[in-house]
């Protein structure tokens, strides 16, 4: 088809967590500009399998930008060149024929590579388990409209809660800081009356777990916000810092 592209890919290949990794070069031929980036990877993988080689492992699931599973570092940017877009929603029309594209996994001590472009993000799980909830049991709750919440706060809480937990913020940060991810959850509950009772413990426990997982410090570079596919704001980090300070002062 006319308008189709030929690309060169430099892809990080690593057999397992403890194996030595290296870049390998592949040709992606006859790529339609209408393909998503992951569909282009599908084509490359089909060619590799047909040629008797091992296909490239990469995480993906919903392919509509909401599950947070896909996670490629493309030409030095988390989820590639576009703003507010996950890799699965990035289309090949954002590239031009003849281009060389470098594809890496998320790089962070707390996200070890499992294979090729697949990383282990269970550190995020453990942070959520440390306090990312309101302690209410099923059934023992008041009528939904017994808890009025200002529209402003509800909308703001929603924007924080829209985080998809993909880890792009960590990958984009020179210190591999998870502050944006953690602060989004802390903010959601800090903005809502439901979160008030456990406010202090939540922020202390989640931050403590974050530190234990080996994520780095925040230096206000704001790369996380720039690369976040859901455009989670760095003001969440400021709010978490206030929450943290408040919890420390009054504990």
């Amino acid at each position: 088809m006319s308008g189709n592209m030929n690309l060169t890919l430099k892809v990080w290949r690593q057999k397992s967590q403890n194996a030595q990794g290296a870049f390998e070069t592949y040709e992606a031929k006859n790529i339609s500009p209408d393909m998503s980036f992951l569909e282009m990877m599908d084509v490359v993988n089909e060619d590799l399998i047909k040629a008797g080689k091992e296909p490239i492992a990469f995480d993906h699931d919903c392919r509509e930008g909401i599950c947070g599973m896909c996670s490629m570092y493309i030409n030095g940017r988390a989820h590639g060149p576009l703003k507010g877009v996950t890799t699965c929603q990035l289309h090949m029309r954002s590239f031009s024929s003849g281009e060389t594209i470098t594809i890496e996994p998320w790089r962070a001590t707390a996200f070890p590579v499992l294979r090729d472009l697949v990383v282990d993000r269970t550190a995020f799980e453990r942070i959520q388990q440390a306090g990312g909830y309101v302690s209410v049991n099923t059934g023992s709750v008041p009528d939904a409209n017994a808890i009025p919440i200002s529209k402003e706060n509800a909308d703001e809480a929603f924007l924080s809660a829209a985080c998809i937990g993909c880890g792009a913020c960590v990958a984009a940060c020179k210190n591999s800081s998870a502050m944006l991810f953690v602060s989004a959850k802390v903010s959601q509950y800090a903005l809502l009356p439901q979160g008030n009772v456990e406010r202090k413990e939540r922020v202390l426990n989640m931050v403590s777990q974050m530190d234990q997982e080996g994520f780095g410090n925040c230096t206000n570079t704001e790369a996380c916000e720039a690369e976040c596919p859901k455009e989670i704001k760095v003001t969440n980090i400021a709010r978490m810092n206030r929450e943290f300070l408040r919890a420390k002062l009054f504990s």
Binding site: M35, K53, F124
Partner: protein
Amino acid sequence: MTLNSKAPSGPLAEKWNNHKFNLKLVNPANKRKYDIIIVGTGLAGASAAASLAELGYNVKTFCVQDSPRRAHSIAAQGGINAAKNYRNDGDSVYRLFYDTLKGGDYRARESNVYRLAQVSVNIIDQCVAQGVPFAREYGGLLDNRSFGGAQVSRTFYAKGQTGQQLLLGAYSAMNRQVATGKIQSYTRHEMLDVVMVDGKARGIIARDLVTGQIERHSAHAVVLCTGGYGNVFYLTTYARGSNVTAIWRAHKKGAYFGNPCFTQIHPTCIPVSGDHQSKLTLMSESLRNDGRIWVPLKKGDNRKPEDIPEAERDYYLERIYPSFGNLVPRDIASRKAKEMCDQGRGVGASGLAVYLDFSDAINRLGESTVASRYGNLFDMYKQITGENPYKTPMRIYPAVHYTMGGLWVDYNLMTTIPGLYACGEANFSDHGANRLGASALMQGLADGYFVLPYTIGDYLAGEERKEVSIDSPEFVAAEKNVKDQLQKLLSINGNKTVHEFQRELGLIMWNHCGMARNENGLKEGIEKIKALRAEFWKNIKVPGVGEELNQNLERAGRVADFLELGELMMQDALQRNESCGGHFREEYQTPEGEALRDDDNYAYVAAWEYKGENQPSEMHKEALEYEFIKRSQRSYK
């Protein structure tokens, strides 16, 4: 085996209360002596896991993704129904019950649907208490919107991300229990078999998707919450990883499969752009409020839409259904789009699309008003297609996005295997032959938060309180079977990839068992699937080994199961000589081309029993008796 729905007798509104009172209880100190396995962590699985752990049971959860939060419930857009009547517009539990039953074309149980409507109000309370940021009004109370089919506003929502917010709520409740040690969460694990001991479900065999290790896990009960099986069609709105494997392997161990052919096809999705495509994206149904659907009058008219004059356009829904126009129900809009394309009047490069045109709306309302209503959807469309829908009509086409069928369950959500339960989309229960919008989230959470926690105790109370051993011959045998199958897949080393087989199967399903079905087409389709399945086991190529992260091996096992399921779906469609809801048999339509239901002969649930490899399955019937509601024919002219 006779199917016993265990639906309680008595007045409709009292059934669930009476039933709850009659269920056996497990005393609090004994709950910690019971282990429960939950497979799948979407709305149904995560809510069940959290609720059961809160009660004191020991829960193990399994999901194929790297986090429970990534289950495909996350992608649900529109909202969740609940009979709160916060709008004072005449809603009630009875009205939600009635709408759901009617929407399902009277192919669901009255008792189940009434219970669903009853607990819907508790779901909203629960989610709000967890901190789910629903949309609110300026006074601080919850906002609602209306949704297709209903005449009241009962849909609660969080922008276009309601599924995400509800799942993150259930996930947070789960996380709290993981922290207490009551839930052990196994991520990147895939269940590959149910283990039966003395006729009861006693555990599962799972594969660690990172190391490839095969593991045995035992429990006193197993709950499958693994979602729908629409990916048998390949191109769908499902996540790529959504699959039938867990429920199919349970089916092969004795769980009956209910109404497998009931599939919902959503009319407004972004069409296929080429052979490379891996998934279809839904565009909210709300677009049909202001968009007009049309195709060129002439066949093969490949002018740009802007260049086709008004007189040469066919606004076919407005023409055929003058009173409902572009807002006819989903099944009708889907079928008519297909008809137009079959006539050679489809648009776009593939000819498999129709226009959804906003130019009239933009002229009438102005671009900024249209943008304020649909801006995010227009952006998404542009991102995917590279076209600007403000300037040129959208192209849309129907796509598979939900399966009403699933494992047959009784009123307690137990399958025909004692101790094996199915919740959410994985069971067949509450939507009949067609699901209403905003009801999938409701059912998943109803099952997990408010039904299973009661009903599972009734079973466990009768079970011995000692740990189930994983060293029994049954576990050993089940593990061996799983390993043998994996080895077989790896050793064939043929010429065709998993991807190629899945696409081929999807095309057969779509052409023979899609939006419109007929006897000859189904019989032909069954033969094609049989041939493809035989070829699969001779010619599949799976690279790599079993003891590593091997995504092709995972997919190969799933496609093997889809190849068996597809045939059963066609058999089910073939036996149902009527049209109802999402099941449209071309032979059974009114003179106007509408679905013709046959209540005298087909008011039953078809529950299929597996009889062995390449053996015909046996159908059992559960009669659907309507005690409280009078069935009627739907009309939209």
